[in-house]
Symmetry: D2
Subunit: 105 residues, 4 copies
């Protein structure tokens, strides 16, 4: 996935619809959370076991909600001045320090 | 960003910590929403204008929260059987149909 | 608002629909978050000023979403064994200590 | 629970700290969602069974997060011009129509 190219496409998409005034990081963060909750809704009444064995319809729905979250996420990074690839690498390194692997005997 | 490679790294990370039993799509969806709200928290009392002009500290914090959301997002796609690159392209096509661009005179 | 009476009504409502198996605190917490995000959606593209001056339709919609959140909230308290009236009083006391009032000259 | 009296106390609390400029319905909706997600976090890695049998510590924590959500909820109703008691009764009536009870033989 080419994040900078995706961000360019989304900027052009917003420009062609005069959406720029709405696209503050604050508003985009709200929109991303709304989409995260729509994804959460898929799973709210499922047992853990059911959540592992999704139907084709549920999987297609999940793909749409994951995409909605991701599209807002890359726009927040863009408008907030965050290099997402670099931030992810830094976070992975932090996580490895915070949670050391189990010692296996 | 190489999504399948990232998913592989996160699977190995979870394996080395015996986290697999916790990683149902249901639980991962909850965790992603929690991280989305931590990102939201950065902006909750800011004016729209302040949310556009983040300090270096705020931008670093934003990068961490964006990464947390993204890392859960790619794990949900992985454990839920969703091809994220394909899902995003399909969603972009759907969005273009749903929201036609403005006609400019 | 009589919280225990409301909790009783919601238990009977769930019983009459065989919803008890779904009503774990975990699932109810997910449902409450989903409703909180539906409320958030009302405001996501509004300016702060617009969010203060809602139309009658927006106010009616807001009332429905507030109610949805509240109904799940009292059910979580009920199923989680929390005395909500007491918890709120304790939290108000904690907040007063955490955030002392401004000294006025 | 006396909602109007609680709203009065929270208005005075905000006044004594000069918080009024921050308390738009938009910002309060963000804050409520952040608190809902902190409640969600309690349950994210628990099994459904564990979520039913909370420890005293978890129950105390749950009471704090429920209160945080409720305190923002009544402030949104207050600043958004919603009569919460009336809205809840209307929603209960709507839910009874939307979800008819099961017929028992």
């Amino acid at each position: 996935m080419d994040i900078p190219a995706l961000q360019q496409r989304l900027r052009r998409f917003a420009d062609e619809r005069d959406w720029q005034p709405y696209q503050t990081p604050k508003n985009l963060a709200m929109a991303m959370t709304v989409e995260a909750a729509e994804l959460l809704e898929i799973f709210q009444w499922l047992t853990p076991e059911q959540s592992v064995a999704l139907s084709d319809d549920q999987r297609r729905h999940l793909g749409e909600e994951l995409s909605d979250v991701l599209l807002y996420l890359v726009q927040i990074a863009d408008h907030g001045g965050v290099d997402l690839d670099a931030a992810v690498e830094r976070k992975l390194a932090m996580n490895a320090i915070k949670h050391p692997p189990l010692k296996r005997s």
